[in-house]
């Protein structure tokens, strides 16, 4: 089985990171190919159509739907101010007129002679997107956005909550096995992207939000604590929209799990540097994992060789991602092609790995992931 393939998370000291920054609707791109940008630079902007309100004019005037056009003082497309009179009944002998005022500032979207309703639209809502990472514009998508590229230290997590944010990296524990508890969090961590160890408690997470920490990267979290922190159960793993005042990135999984030594060392080595992080996770189509990106100043993408993804082979370093050996790191010794019977009685494809303490374990091939550069 030369083609066995198990996706792994990227933990790379130096790689090329490319980010596409697209507007939700067509708009204006503000930068050019070759521009060197800071993460906060606005790269494109547009206007989202304003909210709309309906008004039952026929009902308010006591006329038939087909007649409302006769009473309108404004046409479709006309701007209106809040409380401006937009329709008026004729009244009797010029008296007892009823006037209908606009409930909002905006414009008249439609006047329907069929429903007797008019739709008013509020002014457009401006939307702008930034570069997200320090880097260079390598492509412009006309009226839509840009691609920004940087040579960066790049660490992917397995699950996260909260969206994009930027800040300075700060390590807050000594070892990858250390938990993040409230006592390691103080006011000095305001606006920081903090690197923790094996688990974060609910109390620590609440304190992190209180002191204004921008993001926390940690090995694990107890699901019960996450549920209490969010206030609801996560159903399908599509996250990133949470507004809890912090972006949280889990690198290993749920429960107490030491952050992989490689990720911990790498993130510790960039302490004090500026990072862009995003907790957005989507495990279904269009897979998205949370990420920590630390652009390396002065590095050029041209000189960097990026390894093509490959299949699992003997000698590869893997991580076990399922009980009962969850979290152990090992080296692939053998990939026997025959199916083997495991404890459950199932016949599956297996592999043999040697763990860091020298022990050899045979386990389902589906339960390991490649540690990728």
């Amino acid at each position: 089985m030369a083609h066995a393939y198990t996706p792994g998370l990227k933990v790379s000291e130096k790689t090329i990171v490319r980010k596409e920054r697209r507007l939700p609707l067509k708009g204006k791109v503000l930068v050019n190919v070759g521009d060197i940008l800071e993460a906060n630079t606005i790269v494109a902007k547009t206007e989202l159509p304003g909210n709309v309100q309906t008004l039952n004019l026929a009902g308010k005037l006591g006329v038939l739907p087909g007649e409302i056009k006769d009473y309108m003082l404004k046409k479709e497309g006309d701007p209106v101010e809040k409380d401006e009179v937009i329709a008026e009944s004729k009244g009797m002998f010029g008296l007892f007129k009823s006037q209908i005022k606009s409930p909002i500032k905006g414009s008249i979207e439609t006047i329907s002679g069929i429903t007797g309703q008019i739709i008013l639209r509020e002014p457009p809502i401006p939307v702008q997107i930034d570069a997200y990472i320090d880097g260079k514009v390598v492509e412009v998508f006309e009226n839509e956005g840009v691609a920004v590229e940087a040579v960066a230290t790049f660490v992917q997590g397995i699950f996260g909550i909260g969206g994009e944010t930027k800040g300075i990296i700060k390590r807050i524990v000594d070892k990858p096995s250390d938990p993040v508890t409230p006592d390691v969090i103080d006011e000095s961590l305001k606006d920081r992207i903090c690197i923790g160890g094996s688990i974060v408690t609910k109390e620590a997470l609440n304190k992190a939000v209180k002191v204004g920490m921008k993001a926390l990267v940690v090995g694990g979290i107890d699901d019960y604590d996450l549920k209490n922190f969010l206030g609801y159960e996560i159903g399908v793993a599509i996250t990133g929209q949470e507004r809890k005042g912090i972006t949280l990135i889990i690198t290993e999984g749920f429960g107490k799990m030491s952050m992989s030594q490689k990720a911990f060392s790498l993130l510790s080595s960039v302490e004090g540097k500026k990072a862009s992080v995003n907790g957005a996770t989507q495990i279904r189509a269009g897979v998205m994992r949370p990420e920590v990106i630390i652009p390396i100043k002065g590095e050029s993408a041209e000189n960097l060789e990026v390894k093509a993804p490959k299949g699992l082979e003997a000698g590869d370093l893997i991580r076990i991602i399922r009980e009962p050996y969850f979290g152990l790191i090992g080296k692939v010794i053998e990939l026997p092609p025959e199916l083997q019977v495991i404890e459950t009685g199932a016949k599956v494809r297996v592999l043999t790995v040697q763990t860091e303490d020298g022990k050899q374990i045979t386990l389902p091939r589906a339960n390991v992931e490649l540690i990728e550069e």
Binding site: M1, H3, Y5, T6, P7, K10, R22, L23, P24, L25, K26, P49, N51, V52, Q53, T54, P65, E109, T110, S112, I114, T115, G116, Q117, I119, R121, D222, D223, Y224, K227, E233, I234, G235, V236, A237, G253, F254, G255, T281, I283, R284, A285, G286, V287, P309, I321, R322, E323, P324, P337, I342, E343, T344, G345, A346, P364, A366, N367, E369, E372
Partner: protein, 595 residues
Amino acid sequence: MNQKNDLKRIIATDCGSTTTKAILIEKRGDEYRLVVRGEAPTTVEAPFEDVTRGVLNAIREVEELTNTEILEGEKILNPSNEKKGVDIYVSTSSAGGGLQMMVAGVVKQMTAESAARAALGAGAIVMDVIATNDKRKDHERIELIRRLRPDMILLSGGVDGGTITHVVHLANLIAAAEPKPRFGSGYDLPIIYAGNRDARKEVKEILSEKSALSIVDNLRPVLERENLRPSRDKIHELFMEHVMAHAPGYKKLMKWTDVPIMPTPGAVGLLIEKVARKENIEVLGVDIGGATTDIFSVFQGVFNRTVSANLGMSYSISNVLAETGIQNIMRWVPFEIDERDLRNRIRNKMIRPTTIPQSLKELMIEQAIAREALRLALIQHKRMAVGLKGVQQERTISDAFAQTATGASLVNMMTLNLVIGSGGILSHAPRRVQAALMMMDAFEIQGITKLAVDSIFMMPHLGVLSTVHEKSATEVFDKDCLIRLGTSIVPVGQGREGEPAISVRIEGNEYNLKYGDIKLIPIEQGKKVKAEIVPSKRFDVGKGRGKMIETELEGGVVGTIIDARGRPLVLPEDPKKRREHLDKWFSELNLYPSN
């Protein structure tokens, strides 16, 4: 593709959300048989983000196992000769992550409900239903459409010749929301109008410039009749064109196949419908996947399909927890487990969906979760399977109002003849009896019912193949696909512990079960035996309380399971007592190696 009648070798794949499965079928003599199956993880994940990688890997495994050359580089060799190539390649897919739709109709219980049924029948997730009597304000409806960003909207409303005003109002709301599709700004959102034909002109004026509008026949042309097929077909067509085409690598895959790729649930449904028609029986089929659980049924000759979009064993496993609650999952676990530990295990399966249970305890936990996913999916199915008669539904107005209020369902577990289980957790259960009991527990099967599983999960492949070459699909289905597990005999009723519940006489042997007992009687596959079944006076096996039934039982790889645990199935509240019960039942059936 070679001439249809001249197919010698067939390769078929199903790209599931977790695994891509390939099967090779060959004509040997006069008959078609399954040769081998290969599989590989579905590669929508980084770094490949291309569904065809998984397809190639699965086909390469087939090549290795059969020593037959099928690929030349990344091209499928077609046509075949003695040693290499295939004559046709077909595929199904559910790797796009599902179709998410919003539906709208004038009256919630009438056209809006019909629209929801059409969308569900086509395999969609219905994100929300908008109706003029849904008690929302207009701005709330508009906000909802904007926020949910569906893949597609189905707008219905009004019988032909009926209200135009309300339909136009709904169209205006949709237009005002300027909805954008989930997959970015590159294309217009598909909207299907299937309402009052007299409002078509107005709807077109309002929506044609702001969306990709399609108009089909009214799905409720008169109050007494539904006509869902045109809407379903259009949804299917737009799904392939707009939504699936955005799954990574999908455009390439569409070029490789000889016939259009079918959504996995569509193909499975097709096959189950054929089985029911052929044998003239009532069938319940289930396909429990990583992201979704689909239920198919044929009751009183009526085919129904529902898709429980967020009930599955990997991507959606956490949603099973969210919907049923941790206690309902823990009640099926036969050992003591800390709630926090169980929660974390479920979440870890969600974030690493391709892993499999290695230890027995992990297997038991997954099978406990599967019971709940299946149970919830059947509840949803019962709610929607209310009286569709194929394409058209004849119903009185009062029935139409009554259906939601009473939930009157076509699904009748007592008259059900055959249950077919499909999907990894059932098809790959290490012991077949595990699949049998999971289905019996989750569906609370009643009376006398045959049980089967899709042997190695090839119903989707055979479903799509049957659209172009029925002979090969039918032959492989009969001989290689369906594994007959046996028959379950389940008296309905409640008793007191230790009280006699049922007596079954098979080939001169008499089996007397007390309330709370379960028993497995091996009857080998292919064998049919006469049985005399006598429930005690509190119990019913189909003909009424205490009424005897003489019938023929079909054997299978498991045999006959007599289940006198009572229906509804009630597990003891006390955790220790409950575990003792589970232990007893599992041991009796020799469910797990340690038992």
